[in-house]
Symmetry: C2
Subunit: 335 residues, 2 copies
């Protein structure tokens, strides 16, 4: 670990012990407004709708992030943002997060504090009013964060992946491409002579201040557009975590349809190769009935067709809809 992050100094979690560490983290997290917050066996959360949506996602040092490329604040931001995006993709409004975190005993407490700052910054920016209403602190040889997020549907039906119908308009909200461009630059320039992730190389190459690298570290999902899409009558929706092509494939198979991307000239929104195959921007992909004014930041990128031979086509040509598998593809490195 390069010493260029201020957070990587000071007393460790093993030196201070769980209670002190917990106290120092909790005060930095967004509190939200649960009916009952941390301190009991459970938190109590309002579910005015009589239902709640829930999603969970685990991030592990190595396969999911590298300390040489992401500061602890970035990891906190991303852990919150990706889960908030899954809530939004159902058309729900985020109502709370719980976070389980396991850190090696030699981790400086400042790293956990910076992580908590990142969570707070993301929640304040993306889902103000939401908060961290519970959690668990453990120890592990691998820094691991598991976030579970909740949301309220406000009386609306959940927007699932399987509802797209032929004739619907296909639309996206949020950015397409920057996170993947940032990751590509980190893999190319953020490594040392041996190919290992290096904070020094990130700084020396200028990648550290590249806005695309910034988006890789801190994606900005259009959370408010999830409920907007549901209110506008979206027939299907999902979070773009693995790239437009892979996620469009999921929506197409679940709905039993084929999705056809516009040629660039149709709508003016150019879906380039990075947008098509690069993930981690956490935009929203949705289908809307024809004629519905697209809400918020949504823009048309195509149309829903009767099921053909392919999940996704452009100009009549099938677009591959497969990709990243953490079990098959992770090389075991951390850095």
């Amino acid at each position: 670990m390069d010493a260029t992050y201020d957070a990587w100094a000071g007393p460790t979690v093993g030196e201070l012990g769980e209670l002190v560490v917990l106290d120092r983290i909790v005060r930095r997290l967004p509190a939200g407004a649960p009916l009952l917050g941390p301190g009991d066996d459970c938190a109590v959360v309002a579910a005015p709708d009589g239902r709640f949506v829930v999603t969970t996602d685990m991030m592990v040092h190595g396969p999911d992030f590298r300390w040489a490329w992401s500061a602890p604040e970035d990891v906190g931001w991303k852990a919150a943002a990706t889960n908030l995006s899954d809530v939004a993709a159902m058309g729900a409004v985020p109502t709370g997060l719980v976070i389980a975190l396991a850190a090696p005993q030699d981790t400086p407490v400042a790293v956990l504090e910076a992580f908590a700052d990142g969570v707070r910054l993301a929640v304040d920016a993306l889902a103000p009013g939401c908060g961290v209403i519970g959690g668990d602190l453990s120890t592990s040889s691998a820094f691991t964060v598991s976030v579970t997020a909740f949301g309220d549907l406000e009386g609306r039906a959940p927007v699932v992946r399987s509802g797209a119908r032929p004739g619907d308009v296909l639309a996206v909200s949020g950015e397409l491409g920057p996170a993947a461009r940032g990751l590509t630059r980190l893999f190319r320039e953020g490594v040392d002579a041996g190919g290992e992730p290096s904070r020094d190389a990130v700084v020396a190459s200028g990648a550290d201040t590249d806005p695309d690298v910034g988006r890789q570290r801190r994606p900005v999902p259009p959370i408010a557009d999830g409920p907007r899409a549901a209110s506008a009558g979206a027939t299907a929706m999902l979070d773009l975590s693995d790239g437009l092509a892979i996620d469009a494939g999921r929506l197409a198979r679940a709905s039993g349809v084929t999705l056809a991307l516009d040629e660039a000239s149709d709508s003016g929104h150019v879906i380039d190769e990075v947008a098509l195959h690069g993930g981690e921007d956490h935009g929203l992909l949705a289908a809307f009935p024809p004629g519905v004014p697209l809400p918020g930041g949504f823009r048309r990128i195509g149309v829903v067709l009767d099921r053909g031979d392919a999940d996704l086509v452009r100009g009549g040509v099938p677009v591959p809809t497969t990709g990243w598998d953490p079990y098959a593809d992770w090389d075991g490195a951390a850095g």
Copy 2:
């Protein structure tokens, strides 16, 4: 790893890939009855009460369990049981679990299948009708399980730690001691000549069939007694995860009272040293107004007094209420 567990053989998660592994796990998990189950960005769960309770707990190979001492089924059972117990301790009925799991790539898929079997067995035995309604599958150098559990209060107020009043009766439900006795035996007899956890030593010593070791591996929390206590008017309650003394200390400080354990002759329930200081049985500790018939498996162990100098006393003598800190106490070993 000794080869004495059948699960530790066959194709690995890295060889089969995420989708195949997921399919093989999900079919073994209890489905429960969510409004919308796995397959979308979120599950949707009913919250008929207009609120829900939520708790999360992470278990990591090394600090939290050893493969030499616990089979994968045991780990699945315990991960479910401990979280269900936290739900019960609020007076709520469990309504669902989400599970995030990260396994090393060389983990046999059979291990994950056996883990799923353990979750199912625990849910079927302890909270029938509950189910696993979502999850996430990742990879890590350390086998890690993060469970988040939900419950419904059925219109009752949540039973918190801070409500005990002087004059209340102090009572417990569930077992006190076997899990700690089992752990003591594993530390003493379940190790090789170098002191390392050893499956062969567990078998050779006879510890493998010791009922106390069985309870260490698969605690049997009295889940149904949580809602029963709430209905009976319990003023305070918590899950006995860290031993009666430590957890009584938490209840006493939260409520601003002192708890006085009966002398053995008062109630006939002998609280021995193992019951007092041994954890992981996940019984329930609760305070009830005087005169209330104790529900379910609850039996009196003491009384609530005005706050004095100590959290917990017996025969007028203070009982220490401190203990295990995972950051300070884990020695870094796995096994």
